[in-house]
Each structure stands twice: as structure tokens, then as C-alpha cells.
Subunit: 889 residues, 2 copies
């Protein structure tokens, strides 16, 4: 009825094992592991030694996880809790389920990492147990079963009877032989007219020693990297499933079983919960029914949640301790907990009686997972429609967003979104990665390692603090964050930290600070009466094209634009005096200066020169250039003209975005101009505000963009990337002199501005972690630690040059984590829909961008590897080339 055939795939000759099953099969209990416990040595380790240094996270951008059929991970809280028996029971339940004759169910079981091979082989155990169960239960449908071991270390081969190393197809790669050990059998139902089911069991990588994979790798010199392992797993998962309805919906199940416990290291040492995270497969957690098992099971569950996994069910062995009751109470009944009968400890037991007693439990597990899969898919299908019906997206004309253009984002892993996609022709559904190249509105910094660190930190901060009100109180995260800010972006000038919630509020606060300072310095209010001198009116000095936020106070500090009109905010009046700034950009392979019209009267001797390099733009020696003098004259004259005009309002603050105008179109402002402007205002007693909401925290390659200007502000605002991009938090930093302007005997003299969540613990905790992480060369491989810390060049200079001379490109600005490209286009306003087709194509390439009119940009995190940036830039270049070609055609 069954035949066993073992051969080396593509090998010169076949070898028969003659069904020596006992040799290969050992129940996956802890029996074989206990041998290890004896080995002892007196090594001591004390954590004061060498510092750990990270290399880049290299998440695969081309990841694809099929959703056309259920795929579940089998996790466990510990070794020896019966994980493989659960896999076997689940697989049997699926395969032996009575379905319609036309719909056989097929199961692929994958064990990516197997140690202790061939004594331990979980794929063979599943293969074998399903066969035995088949014989016991006598179903109406045949099954074609196979077991396949793909790669094994050389020592692991030694344990195989009749297999010699030279029998393997290929030579050893990274210490592995491409084994292709294969066996199959047909479990035939005599006379059955139904189409047969398939069971495909696979072991991807096998090592001989029954120890943790990362140790086996070392001891057997057989290494597989995370990315190769994931690619291989992905290939196996996609096997036969990309084809149109290869197995139909729900007709194939994938079961992926981990090695050891949830946080056991994989071959590279990466914890398995981290290793498999890019797939984020839903899972079954095999808990521990023994004494102490409640704790282990709950902890394992929490470890999975702390990696963003969904657990569909917990299943555990009954040891007479009712562990499931504590688990249900902990879970508030939100998750099913299933209990299996006690597993016989007798190794000679073939477990058929046990599987018989467990049959209903596996049936329940099976239907729970069907339910889970069905619900998940149902939700994914309705999300885009629901979103369009009940969301009110910011900055979005809903009429222009049809349902099919809504992006359904399943999760994020470091810089990558995991997006739900449907291939229109085949209805093939899958999860695909896209690089978040707009850094989610410029907030994002973490790679996947930092994201998981922050996850634990956010859990900790919530559990320790929740939120605690700030005024007159102190708690660690707020203090620590404030200290780090003053040692970092505020170093050398700031001494006070005012917390608020977002960039816009931090700007409103900065203006209030500046106005008070100005009023105080210029005797424009009477402290004893807490009133202003009659007729006092304040304006801000700002640059055209700068942007400071959407609340009214912040809007008033920017020049009129489509953001500020009557349609948007009828109360906007534009309380500023706005200057046109000179800009810098790369075009035709050179960094050039562009002077606005207003500079025509200030003629230079000859042409405005191109810079020899981008570095020259920031060079301090430019201070003594003629251009610097002209800038100074221009600014001086403009301020005089303003004062002489009928407008009698005082300019009570200067506000600038240092170096880059973000929302205004990614324009690089000549830093020399901003420096001269700051000096001029300082001379005139006008408080200076840097809006570093966009530019701060390595966005431009240095921690504070003030470093580029070479002069410090009185007040500065930070937000976005400050928390690593996890939660909203902002700060307004100020000098002690600014702070002093609010001192007095009365509370009414104080700055009466505050938000409920001022200095909330989660935000401060995230900020403290991100601030330290990004600047630590041990954590951020991009940090160049010699001299003033800065990021290495992330955007390949040659590629930037090439882009800048492309016929479709007007200008390029690359600095720090930003590479912005302005396309040549007739309509260059904000409302432009240009570049949208380009962006759409790039999304197909796995790059998620959002255009700013005819400006497209790539934005990575401070830890993103230059290799990834290179790939992004290449993709953009290729698409621009195509665009140019099709435009030319």
C-alpha cells in the first residue's frame, strides 16, 4: 500500500533505505536533548568586555508572501513541548478532512532549520505520523506523501545510511551539501474515486548536533545567512502557488515549524522571532502544560506580540495542572486555548492512540485556523473600501482617490511597508514589501532592529509610567530626554526644554517665546501691569517657501500659499515679512546657486559661479566673499525699507528652516544667506528661531542642521524623527535668556501654554532611545565618528550626478537621508499631478514614494545601508529614463 523511495535529487544513482524508519525517527520529546545537560565547564562571562557592534539590517525588498492559501507558523514556548506532534496532528486533520470530491486539500510542511539530524527529523516525523494516522483512520481519499531534506551539513550526512558525501549533487557551499534526500509513498485508498491529496514535508537546512542552530553552524562549519534562509523559505512557500489557482483557495496549507522556542537563535544567531519577522506569518503557539508552563507560555506569547506577530491559538499538553485556565484568564478569553491529552512518555509508543484521543482537538485547531484565515482575508478585502468611506485623510482630495489606489498596509518592518496586493489577471493575492521612501511624512528612522527595541521600550514605558502629568513633576524619561537634547541638538546654546505634541505646536510656542523675549528686551510691555505698550504689533521675518505647520499661529508665520488661503483658513492674514532666498542645487553634474530676482540690483562681478562640490556650499570661508557682502546689504536694506514703510509693526522674530525647505518643495537654501540673515537679526535684537522639525536628527546627515549654518539660534523646534518616528512628540528648546523673560512673581507672567500629554513618557522614552541610537557608531553603521559626527554619504555621488544631467530632470538635492529630484514640467505648482505616473511605476518596483508636485524624493533612515540607497536610486533612474523615452516618443 505504501512504498518508500529515497534518492538524491538529480544524483547519479539512487539509494534505497529499505524502510528503516526506526533509524530516522525519534519522537520529538526532550529525550535526546537531556544528554546535553551533562556537559559542564566553568566558563564565566561578565558583561564588561568588548562592545557589540551592529552591521546593517538587510531586509529583502522583494519579499513576497502568498495569501492565496493559509500559511501558519508553529511556535513554541520551549523545546520538548510537542510542537512537531501538533504539526503532524494539524496536517492530518487537514488532509483527512472529508471535502468535496473535486477539492482535495494539500499540505506543505516546512522545517527551515533542523538540528540533531538525522536522529531528529521533524519533517520525517510529520511524514511518518501522517502516514500512520492515515492507516488508522482509513479515509476515503488517497494521499501522496513525500519528505524532502534539501541541504545538510557534512557531519549530518555521516548519520545517513548509505549516503556518501560524493553522492551529493554539488560540492559543499558554505559547508552544506545540496542533499536532496527524498522519500515518498502513496497512501492509497483502494477503489477511491476521489482525487488524491498531497503532503509535502521539507527540511530546508539540517545539522547533526542536537543543539541550538547557531552553535551547530559553528561546530559543523555550515553557515546560512538570514537573507538566504528567508529567500529559500519564500521560494518553498511560493512553490506551486503563484500559478493561477494552483490549488484553488484554501486547497493548500503551509505549515512552517520553528526550531526550539520563540526566541531561540537561528543559524546566524538572530532570534527566530526576529528572523522570520519580515514574513509576519500568523501562528499557533504550542504552550507548555507542565509545572512552570503557564509562565513560559505567557512569556513566549508576549515575545511574539512584541515582534508584531498575531497568534491564532494556543495549544498545550494536559499535565493535570489546568494551565489553560490561567492562560484564558490572562488572555481575557480573546484567544482560543486548546488542550491536548498527555503525551505518552514511552518512546516505543507509536502515539496512534494518543492521536486518536487528540483527533477532536486537532479538528478544532483546524477550524480555528480556517476561521482566522477567512477573517483576515475578509478584512483585507474590505479595508480599502471602508477607508474611503469613513476616513478623512489630511491633504487629500478624496474625489481623486478611487478605491483601487488606496494602499492597504499590513505592517512595517524597519524601512519597509508590507502591502496587500492583488494581481488583477489571476486574483493572486500576496503581501509585498515597499521601501517607505517618503519616510512616512519624514518621520521615520528605525531599521527593523531599532523598531523591535522601541517596541520593548514602548511596552516598558506604558507599563512603568503610562502617562504622567508634567508641570512641577519629574520622571525619568522626560528628564533623560531633556538631558540628551541639551547635550545634542541644543549643545552650546540651549538650556531649557519645552515639550509639546507636534511640529506645529512647537512653532506656536517658539513664537510666543520669541515675542515675549522681544517685548522684554525692547521694553514693549509693562511687567507690573502685565500689559503691552499701546499700539504694539508683532510680525515675523521669514523666507518665502518656508513651511512651519498647519495650526493658525504657525501658518501666520508663512507666506501666502495654497495652504493658507481663505478656502483653508479664513483667519489667516500672513503676519510676516517674507524674503526671497537664494537656492542651491545640483544640475548638469554641478552644484549651482540660483539668485532670485530681487538680487538683480546687487550685481556680482561676473557670473554667479558653480560650486566645485557640495561641500564648498557649506564652507565657512564663503563668509568673506563678495556674495556674503551682497547678502548682508540686501537684508539690511530690506529691514530698513520695512521699518520705513507705513506698516508700524515690529519684527519680533526670525524663523527659518535651516538649509532645506521641506514642504515648500525640497529647496536647498544657500546656508551663507541664512547665516548672514541670522547675524543681521542678532545684531538688531530679533530673537532667532530655527524650525528643525524636518531638518533635525540626522535628516540632513548631521544631528542638527544648525551645524551647517555655523551659528546658533535662541529658540529651536524639533519633532518628527526625534522619537525615531514612533509617536508624536516635539520640543521647543530655548536659551536661558529667553526663559528668563517669563520669570516673575506672578503665574500670569509664565508661559501659559501646555498640552495634556506634555512630555508624555512614551514619546520621551522613544526619543531618548532614538537620539542615542542614531549617534552611536556601535548601533548606527552610517556614523562617521571622526571629528564632528556625521552620516556617511548615502546617495551614490556618481548616480546623483548622472541624474542631475538627465534631460527630464531640472535639479537634484541630495543631503543626508534626502535625495530630491525636480522633474522638468510645465506646471510646477503644488496642485500639479505631474510625476504621479512615475511614482505609480516605482511602487511596482517596491518603492513607496509621494510626490510634492513635480518634485519626487527618496528619503531613508539614518541607519539605512548605502547599498539599499543605491538600489533605490537605480530604480528611480531607470524609471525616469523610461519616462524620458516615452515622452520623447
Amino acid at each position: 500500500m505504501a512504498r518508500t523511495l529515497i534518492f538524491l535529487q538529480n544524483a547519479r544513482r539512487c539509494l534505497l533505505f529499505n524502510g528503516r524508519l526506526n533509524l530516522l525517527f525519534v519522537p520529538s520529546s526532550s529525550a535526546s536533548l537531556s544528554k546535553l545537560a551533562g556537559s559542564q565547564n566553568n566558563r564565566r562571562c561578565h558583561a564588561t568586555g568588548s562592545r557589540f557592534t551592529r552591521s546593517f539590517c538587510t531586509t529583502s525588498v522583494n519579499l513576497e508572501v502568498s495569501l492565496s492559501h493559509p500559511t501558519f507558523m508553529v511556535w513554541s514556548s520551549n523545546t520538548g513541548v510537542g510542537k512537531t506532534l501538533v504539526s503532524a496532528g494539524l496536517a492530518s486533520s487537514i488532509l483527512l478532512l472529508e471535502t468535496k470530491p473535486s477539492n482535495p486539500l494539500n499540505v506543505q510542511y516546512i522545517k527551515p532549520v533542523q538540528t540533531g539530524f538525522p536522529i531528529d527529523s521533524d519533517s520525517r516525523c510529520v511524514y511518518q505520523k501522517v502516514s500512520e494516522i492515515f492507516h488508522h483512520r482509513r479515509p476515503s481519499r488517497s494521499i501522496f506523501a513525500s519528505n524532502h531534506v534539501l541541504k545538510a551539513s557534512e557531519p549530518a550526512l555521516e548519520g545517513l545510511v548509505g549516503v556518501r558525501t560524493e553522492d551529493c549533487t554539488s560540492g559543499s557551499i558554505d559547508g552544506f551539501r545540496d542533499l536532496g534526500l527524498y522519500e515518498e509513498r502513496e497512501l492509497r485508498v483502494p477503489g477511491s474515486v476521489h482525487e488524491g491529496s498531497k503532503l509535502m514535508c521539507k527540511t530546508m537546512y539540517a545539522w547533526k548536533q542536537p543543539i541550538s542552530p547557531h552553535l551547530a553552524v559553528e561546530r559543523e562549519s555550515a553557515f546560512v545567512s538570514d537573507s538566504v534562509l528567508l529567500q529559500s523559505l519564500q521560494q518553498n512557500l511560493l512553490f506551486q502557488t503563484r500559478e493561477k489557482d494552483a490549488f484553488g483557495k484554501c486547497q493548500l496549507w503551509n505549515i512552517v515549524e520553528i526550531a526550539g522556542g520563540v526566541a531561540s537563535p537561528g543559524p546566524s544567531g538572530t532570534l527566530q522571532c526576529d528572523l522570520y519577522r519580515p514574513f509576519r506569518l500568523p501562528g499557533v503557539l504550542v504552550g507548555d502544560g507542565r509545572l512552570g508552563g503557564i509562565s513560559g507560555t505567557i512569556s513566549a506569547y508576549e515575545t511574539l506580540k512584541l515582534r508584531g506577530y498575531d497568534v491564532a491559538a494556543i495549544i498545550l499538553e494536559d499535565n493535570g495542572l489546568s494551565n489553560e485556565e490561567s492562560l484564558l484568564s490572562y488572555l481575557h478569553n480573546r484567544l482560543p486555548v486548546l488542550v491536548l491529552p498527555a503525551i505518552p512518555r514511552d518512546l516505543s509508543d507509536n502515539l496512534m492512540e494518543w492521536f486518536g484521543k487528540s483527533w477532536d482537538v486537532f479538528g478544532s485547531l483546524h477550524s480555528i485556523l480556517v476561521d482566522d484565515y477567512t477573517k483576515r482575508m475578509g478584512r483585507l478585502h474590505e479595508m480599502s473600501k471602508k477607508a474611503g468611506t469613513i476616513f478623512w485623510w489630511p491633504f487629500t482630495q478624496h474625489s481623486l482617490v478611487p478605491e483601487e489606489t488606496v494602499t492597504v498596509i499590513d505592517s512595517r518592518s524597519g524601512e519597509n511597508f508590507a502591502i496587500h496586493k492583488v494581481k488583477k489577471d489571476s486574483n493572486y493575492e500576496f503581501i509585498s514589501h515597499q521601501f517607505d521612501a517618503c519616510a512616512s511624512w519624514w518621520t521615520q528612522g528605525p531599521d527593523s532592529t531599532l523598531q523591535m527595541e522601541l517596541a520593548r521600550d514602548m511596552g516598558y514605558a506604558t507599563a512603568r509610567y503610562g502617562h504622567i502629568m508634567f508641570p512641577e513633576n519629574v520622571y525619568e524619561p522626560a528628564l533623560h530626554c531633556a538631558e540628551l537634547l541639551l547635550l545634542g541638538v541644543g549643545k552650546g546654546w540651549a538650556s531649557r526644554v519645552f515639550f509639546s505634541d507636534n511640529g506645529s505646536t512647537s512653532i506656536e510656542i517658539s513664537l510666543k517665546m520669541a515675542f515675549r523675549k522681544f517685548a522684554s528686551d525692547h521694553a514693549l510691555f509693562c511687567p507690573s501691569q502685565l500689559k503691552s505698550v499701546e499700539g504694539t504689533e508683532f510680525k515675523v521675518l521669514a523666507l518665502n517657501g518656508s513651511y512651519h505647520g498647519d495650526t493658525l499661529g504657525a501658518m501666520e508665520a508663512q507666506a501666502p500659499s495654497p495652504y493658507t488661503g481663505f478656502l483653508q483658513q479664513p483667519w489667516y492674514s500672513g503676519r510676516g515679512f517674507f524674503l526671497d532666498p537664494p537656492t542651491v542645487f545640483c544640475s548638469n553634474e554641478h552644484w549651482n546657486l540660483c539668485l532670485p530676482q530681487v538680487f538683480l540690483p546687487y550685481k556680482l562681478n561676473g557670473e554667479v559661479p558653480a560650486f566645485s562640490s557640495r561641500e564648498e556650499v557649506f564652507c565657512g570661508s564663503r563668509d568673506s566673499s563678495e556674495l556674503a557682502g551682497n547678502y548682508s546689504n540686501y537684508i539690511h536694506q530690506q529691514l530698513s525699507l520695512y521699518r520705513g514703510s507705513k506698516n508700524c509693526a515690529s519684527i519680533a522674530a526670525l524663523i527659518i528652516e535651516p538649509v532645506i525647505h521641506g514642504a515648500g518643495g525640497m529647496h536647498m537654501i544657500d546656508p551663507l544667506f541664512q547665516r548672514v540673515l541670522v547675524r543681521e537679526c542678532r545684531n538688531q535684537g530679533i530673537p532667532i528661531i530655527y524650525d528643525e522639525v524636518f531638518t533635525g536628527f540626522w535628516r540632513l546627515g548631521v544631528e542638527s542642521a544648525a551645524e551647517f549654518l555655523g551659528c546658533v539660534p535662541d529658540i529651536a523646534c524639533f519633532a518628527k524623527l526625534m522619537t525615531g518616528g514612533i509617536v508624536p512628540l516635539s520640543v521647543t528648546l530655548a536659551t536661558e535668556a529667553v526663559f528668563d523673560a517669563f520669570k516673575g512673581d506672578s503665574k500670569l507672567m509664565a508661559l501659559l501654554h501646555g498640552h495634556s500629554y506634555s512630555a508624555h513618557a512614551l514619546g520621551c522614552t522613544a526619543a531618548a532611545k532614538a537620539i542615542q541610537w542614531f549617534k552611536d557608531p556601535h548601533m548606527n553603521p552610517n556614523i562617521i565618528a571622526t571629528g564632528n559626527k556625521k552620516l556617511r554619504e548615502l546617495w551614490d555621488c556618481e548616480m546623483v550626478s548622472k541624474l542631475s544631467s538627465h534631460s527630464a530632470v531640472k535639479r537634484v538635492v541630495s543631503l543626508g537621508t534626502l535625495c530630491a529630484i525636480e522633474l522638468k514640467a510645465e506646471d510646477s505648482g503644488y496642485g500639479s499631478l505631474y510625476a504621479i505616473s512615475l511614482v505609480r511605476q516605482l511602487r511596482e518596483d517596491g518603492v513607496y514614494m509621494r510626490p510634492l508636485g513635480n518634485v519626487i524624493y527618496l528619503m531613508c533612515g539614518p541607519c539605512t545601508s548605502p547599498q539599499v540607497c543605491y538600489q533605490l536610486l537605480s530604480k528611480v533612474y531607470r524609471r525616469i529614463n523610461e519616462l524620458g523615452a516615452s515622452a520623447g516618443a
Copy 2:
């Protein structure tokens, strides 16, 4: 050299055990546990059964944890990993450390929960092992050692030789005998002139069966509640330490060892990591050095972090697997990991050789813990000073906040702060709980259970999503949160959800929405040109005393006040038409109506009546009263007068805080007046905004305060309590008609307002959890589920009545989670410093309040037990009484 004496404390006679140590001592390996694994039954549990229902969290408000000496928990990842040996080794290292002659070190070892007693007795093991180590190491100082078992279940007594039940001092309470089993010995150093050290080992509660405590409780009918256990532990920890320098600094160590793993259930079934959380003691985690131990150790560590615990070190047994290397890599070297030699498995081994080989490791552990304690104390000492130096607190005149009044908040547990305190006379330092009665600026809702749930959710949301940009995208937390909002506070009217970051931004957005709707309805702009009709100017209709936030746009919608003057925001002009509202309050045991001056022309027939009850205030039948007609006439007339005045601006929005003006002084506005106002505005085509930032989500006892008014808005704003008080998030809900006013062909017609963290995943996840939790009668015991859901009365009516008639009290407003009390005072303005002394006294009583001028208030969470509210109210009443008495004196 040593003597052993065992007696029943306070008992009629003593019993000698004759040193039968072997009877009582079994090494705490897993040997005795393996017996259990055999028990089997085939019970199945499937989580579709009865729903779990919670009762109130009753955290002790009078909690006190001494900081005058180090106290550490010993946690472990699992049973059988050598936790008690670590305790013994650490205790020995402390006791045998060579210190100055005058400074003996003392150790108290506490095992709160012991099962398997007397076969297993960890306190006896520590007592015994330290004694043996003493004899081996021959230190220069004597030790007086004792072991004390306080309470044991009756079955546990049976195992004790020579102890009969009737020998115990008292009868059985909750199934326990007050055992007082005691033994002591003097470990004498002949001829030593040094003062001796003390070792006090204690077992608090003991059960016979070697199973999880929650099962032993059941099987031996001996129950101890969480609060009794914590109180008892607190008493033991404070033993001899409250006295002035009882042991001097660092001269006493407390070691508290848990039972089983970190998340093993305690006697009540509460997981131990949750049970001991109110103390939040720092800990040592004893990890698992076996195969699979990396996973278990990391998971246990994460479980502790998810409860807000600090771990000072991880220590684990060497099993030749180098587990410590993986741990160090996971921890990025931030935490020391110590490795102990393998523990002999031979039960006859007295372990002295092992302790000898481990001596240096325990020495390292000891100094790591000294360091940890010293650093923690150093930080606590400097925090208040540093805070005053670098923070810029909102709404705070720093000159009025001397260092000693700054509150150092170590953590939060549910509604309670854990605060660092120093007794001035004795320098005794401790952590004390204070009820956060200002709900941290009205944001707080969670009890300790919900807080820990949110901690796991925040970890999950960070790991799964981090933050994902919102426009044109959809991801689960945002969609789920939006759906819940429309099914809850927006039910029956709202169809769109616009997310932003805080109350103030949600108000700015609501105004933009209202203005566009008004302009659209009244043809005040020309869609084709995207411009306004010439001369259009918009104002809002609002109530005097209402407050809507601190950003300029929100400020413009409120009447002039100290918040809005030139000193605070020179750009404020007050773009509103402000009406004086009638208010309602309880005074002299009655709910009364107070009509402002403006109502004098609208004379009522006779006096304004008092209400028979608070419920009558909200009664719909008042609509047909004469008062309703007068309200209507007044409003109508005012609007006509406004239109007739020279001011030609249109009233384009009504904005109100329904029922309660929060920041304006906790005034209850007559809901009839607000209802009439809303109806009048609706008739006149003025869009209606409810500012529910303060009033929403059960703050007033109903999910939305709109329920009290009986009429719905066009737009409503929510924030604060929406996320349960964990992270900032706000929403502006709107009707489809409002949304439609932004539709068009051009992006420029869209609402061009947005914040980087719009609909951030953490906020939406927290909101979804909190929204569901608060309204679920299974989770929130305060929910009355009959009819429209509402909270039960939290503030004892009799007590409120009594307060309202107190001579020092002007008025009381109690509604939902709020109980506000206005004190009689000359100076009732915001700047008033009145009531500050009252608040200071209440902080001594464990109640953290912040006054609003002469208004003090208590604010609890939607899940807070009415018993706790009663205690709070009693404390306030007592202090007000004292205040009255001293004022009268």
C-alpha cells in the same frame, strides 16, 4: 558552634527539631517536580465558554517601599533554574563581605509564597546554605541566622515533625495556621571583636503540594488575597527599617524570591509579575542555561519589561551552551549577564564545592547590585534639582516652584503615582503611592490591569506598524479606531474621522471644517476660482468661560482671559461672539441654577427653582418650560443684535463644551441652555461644533456628553481620555455634509491640514482598546448596561450633599468621574494661590491634586471603584473641615 532552635512563636511550649535538617532540605532543583509530569487526564478546554468578568483593581493606596537600603526581587525564567541557590549565594556574599568593624551587613530573605512545604522550603535552604558556607569560608565576623515560617496551610503542617495543629497560636484564618515556625543559630567566630551580622530568612505563606500556588490554594483550602499578601510583604520589608538609621544606609539588604517563573500565578491566580507590580522592586533574573534556555530567558526578561520592571542583572547556569553570548547580543551589552558553574545534579552533594567555584560570580553580582542601588538613589536625589534647571514646564511660573516642591514620580500603577519621598527628620527615603486625582490633566482612565494590557498593545503596535503615513493608506488600527468612533461617540450623526494629535489641533481642524461648510452653504466662496466672496469675515459663537486649547486658532475661539492676553499671545484678537451661560451646581444640599446678569430682562414668574435632583437638570421635559422659552428669546435676540451691529462678520460656527466647562473652572452649564442654543444655530444654518476633548469618553459618566444635551453636532472633537491616557491622539468627527463641502476636482478644495503622525498606529491601537474596554461591562465593573450605557454613581451622594453644605464650600459639581469643589474665597481668579495648602495636605494623605484657582477637584478613571472614590471624598472632607476649623480659629 551553631545551635538550632525551633519553636512556635508565642506558643505554649517549644519543640526541638534536633537538627533534622535533611528532612526539611531538598535542593531546589527540578527533582521534586518531575513527579508531577506523570499525572494525566484527557480534559479538553475550548475557549468558547463562559466570559471572563473582571472585578475592581484594588491597589493599596497606602503602599510604602523603603529606599533606605537595597531591596531586590529574584525572578526566574522557569522553575528549577537555581533561583534559591542564587539567593543563598548573594546573601552569603553580602554577609561574608569584609566591611568596617562598625558596619555589619544584614540580610533579610523573604519567600512570600512557598509550595511543596516542608519538603521544599527555600527560606530554610538559604538559612542552611549560608550557614554551611560560613563554616567553609571562616569569615572574621559572626552571623546570627534565623529562619521563620509565618503561615502554613493545615495540610502543610502535617509534614512537620512534632507540630500538631493545636500547637499553633491561633485558629485557622482562611485555611492558614499562624505557624510561627522558627529556628535560629549563631554562627560564631571565636574571639571576633566585630559586631555580628544578621540573616533573617522568612517564608510568609506555605502550602504542602509542590504545585502552582493558585492550585495549592484550591486543593488545601488556604487562601490569601493579593492585598493581604502585599500588605504582609510590605510589613516584612519595613521591619526594623522605618526607625532612624536602623541599619544605616546599605547595611540591610532585602531579597525577595518569587515562586516559579515570572508569570507564574500567585495564590489568587494573579500572575506574580502583576501581583508584585505595585512595589516595582528592581530584580535579578535567574535565566536558563539549558538547551532552549535562551528563548525562555529572553521571553521572561520581556515579560518583566512589559510590566515596567527594571532588571539589574541576568545570571544563569553554564551548561556548555554559551547561552550568555546570545543574551548579551540581544541585550546589546546594556545589562550584565553572569554565568554560574554547572550545578551538580547529585542530590547528596552539599554544593559547597560549587559555591566555592561560584564565589567570584556572586561577588560580581553583589557589586553590580550595589552599583545599581547607588545609581538609582543618586538619580532620585538629583532629579528634582535637574528638573528645575532644564525643564520648562507648561503653565508654570518657575519662580514659584522651589526644588523641594517638585514631585519625583518613579512610576504609575493604574490610578496611582509612585512618588519618591524623604522624611525630613530622619532622612528616611521611601516610595509612596498617591492617587492621581487630577487624572494627569484629565487624560487618565486605566486601572492597573488595563495599563498592562495597553503596555502589551503598545509593544505590539510598535513592532507591527511603528508609524505609517496616513493619507491614501489604510492599516488596521486606524480603521478599527475609526469604526469604533463612529459606532460610539459619533453614532447617529458622524460619518467621517479626521485624526490629529491633540485637542487644540482637533479644534483648529473643526473650525476650518465649519467655516468651509458655512461658506459653502451660504455661497460665500466661488468654487471655480477657489476664492472667497469679497469682504467675507468669519466669527464663532461661543460661551464665556469655555476653553478650547492653546494654539492660536483655538484661542481665537475663546473669550479674552489671562490665557489669551498680549503677554501670552500678541496675535490673539478674540474672533468670537461670546454669550454668558447659566450654570448649575450643588450647594446646601440642592442642585441650583444660576442665571447670569444678562438674564435679568427675561424675568421668570417668581424665583428660579432649585432642582429636586441632578437628574432633573438633564430631563427632556424642561424643553417645554418657561425657562426654555426665555433662553430661546435671549439667544435669538443676541444673534439679531450681533447682526445689526456695525460688525459685519458672519457667525460661521458655534462651538461649545457640552455640560462642563473644564479649564474654565469646572462649571456645569445648564444643558437646557446649550440645547436651545444648538437648535437656534441649526435653524440659522450655523455649523455646530462640540468640543468633547475634556467631556468625552465617560469623563462625565456617559460615553459622549452629547447624550446629556439630546442633540447632535455637525462636528465634534475628542482627545485626552480617548487613548485611555497613554499617548496623544485626537479626532475631529464630522457629518458627511461637512465632508462634502471639501469635495471637488482640485486638491486645493481638500482640507489641506495634516500632521506627520496623523492616525499613528500606537494612538489608534490604544484608543481602540480603551474605547472597547471602558464600555464593556465584563471589563469595566462600573458600566450599567441596562438601557443606554452609563457609569454607576461614583461619588457618594450623601458625602457630596454634606460637602455642598459645608461652610467653606461654595459649590460642588459631581458628574461621572468628576467631583469639583469650589471653595469660598475672596480671590477666585485663575491666579489665585488659594487652596494650595489644602492640596499640599491632601498629598500627605496620598491624594495628588492640582487646584484650578479656588476650585479643587477629584477625578478618577471610568473603572475606579466607588469605594476608592469614597475614600478620596472622605479625605477631602476631613481636610476641608480642618481648614474651616483653623480658619474659624
